[in-house]
């Protein structure tokens, strides 16, 4: 029996499945997923959600995946704001919320990122993240402060 099932499997394995393959990457190079941990850490879940979703598009992933990343960002941003507004002492732990969103997005972004990097041109296969990260960090933290201040009032 085993021999028969194996033979069927073999034939199926040797059928083409890449015939419709197009290079999924967009016009712009993606950012490094590991490096996105920086805006996640310093800028929080919201900054990561936005950059992560843009990166999902840059990696050529469908919109659904991008929404999923935004979803993780919004979830942890909501938790953070709720915790602060409810009066819990958050302290330095506020830095970990963005990191949590980054960690949860691994399932969506990590493998495409690694495939892109491993088979690409080494460090040249990534776009520079610095400007976008600083901008997103400042914007997201300001938004956060305004929102929290609004809730507390």
């Amino acid at each position: 029996m085993r021999g028969i099932s194996l033979a069927v499997d073999r034939d199926r394995l040797l059928e083409p499945t890449l015939a419709n393959y197009r290079d999924p990457r967009g016009a712009e190079l993606p950012w490094s997923f590991n490096r996105l941990a920086y805006p996640a850490f310093f800028g929080g879940p919201l900054a990561f959600g936005v950059l992560g979703a843009l990166n999902a598009r840059r990696l050529g992933l469908p919109k659904r995946e991008a929404y999923q990343v935004v979803g993780w960002g919004l979830l942890f941003e909501g938790l953070l704001i709720a915790a602060v507004v409810a009066g819990y002492f958050v302290g330095f732990a506020f830095l970990t919320f963005g990191y949590a969103a980054h960690w949860c997005s691994r399932g969506v972004l990590e493998t495409p990122d690694r495939v892109h990097h491993y088979f690409g041109d080494g460090e040249d296969s990534y776009a520079d993240l610095a400007d976008a990260a600083v901008l997103a960090t400042i914007a997201a933290r300001l938004f956060e402060i305004v929102l929290i201040a609004g809730f507390i009032k």
Binding site: R10, L18, A19, Y21, R114, V115, Y118, G122
Partner: protein, 279 residues
């Protein structure tokens, strides 16, 4: 002329594609168009990263011998190297049609599928290759790559150790284990792994870059906090440090406690930022 082919093949085995190409350039007109010459030229060009030239060499050879498996293999690698996966797949399947049990071809197909992010099918092909030849290094190497692409770093590391136990000469095993050691905060060990890869493939620029990066982490003290942070149990060091600060402050030396605390925070923040700044 077989002497020249033999010599070129030996250079290719040593990872010296440029010298192999030089030997092949000196062939006379009767042998320069032979399938053997196209095969060796193709492998050498791929070794140098000249995928478009390699594809052209393979096509010229295939014009004479349309069914040559090795030329199809070269063509598949060259097309995959240019991101043309559909063409690469067509070539590798044409080769597999003739040699369905060739482990090298099966693993090459698995790698092509990995490029196209079809990891599940790649896994099945590697299993098939493992059944056909349990001793071969190729499917073990493919398995390491697959685990890495899936994000399972610890599994990838244990698979590379298995690979190196069976095939101590595997460059892929040394390199992947080196990358893992680097991510675990052991740049000294990683440096030796990368040096091994560079010795075997002196022309591969990527290996040389990785070896330099690992050496920098050992030598440059600015890297050391990051190395420490990457080690297992680094969070214990952080908590121990915080505890010490609190203890010092509680014993009366409040200023010292605050200074130590700020120092700790600065070092840890630097450890986080250093890879972005130094690389």
């Amino acid at each position: 002329m077989t002497v020249a082919f033999e010599q070129a093949r030996r250079y290719l085995e040593m990872g010296r594609s440029r010298q192999a190409l030089e030997v092949l350039a000196e062939l006379d007109s009767s042998t320069t168009d032979s399938p053997e010459a196209y095969i060796l030229r193709g492998y050498a060009l791929i070794g140098l990263g000249r995928h478009d030239d390699a594809a052209e060499a393979a096509r010229s050879g295939l014009a004479q011998t349309p069914e040559a498996v090795q030329l199809l293999h070269v063509l598949a690698m060259a097309e995959a190297g240019q991101g043309r996966l559909a063409e690469a797949e067509a070539a590798i399947l044409a080769a597999l049609e003739q040699e369905p049990e060739d482990v090298t071809l099966l693993c090459e197909y698995a790698e092509t599928l990995m490029r196209g992010a079809q990891l599940w099918k790649a896994d099945q092909l590697l299993r098939l290759a493992a059944e056909i030849d349990p001793e071969a290094a190729e499917w073990r190497e493919g398995r390491v790559t697959l685990a890495y692409l899936r994000g399972d770093d610890h599994h990838a590391a244990s698979l590379s150790r298995e690979l190196l136990a069976e095939h101590p000469e595997s460059i892929h095993g040394h390199r992947m284990l080196g990358l893992h050691e680097l991510n675990e905060g052991r740049p000294g060990a990683a440096t030796e792994r990368f040096a091994e890869a560079v010795r075997s493939r002196p022309e591969e620029e990527r290996f040389a870059t990785e070896a330099r990066a690992a050496r920098a982490r050992v030598r440059n003290p600015l890297w050391w906090p990051t190395t420490l942070l990457l080690r297992d149990g680094s969070w214990l060091v952080l908590f121990g440090g915080l505890f010490l600060c609190g203890g010092v402050a509680a014993m009366g030396a409040e200023t010292l406690g605050v200074i130590l605390f700020l120092l700790l925070i600065v070092v840890y923040l630097w450890a986080l930022i250093a890879p972005a700044v130094l690389e």
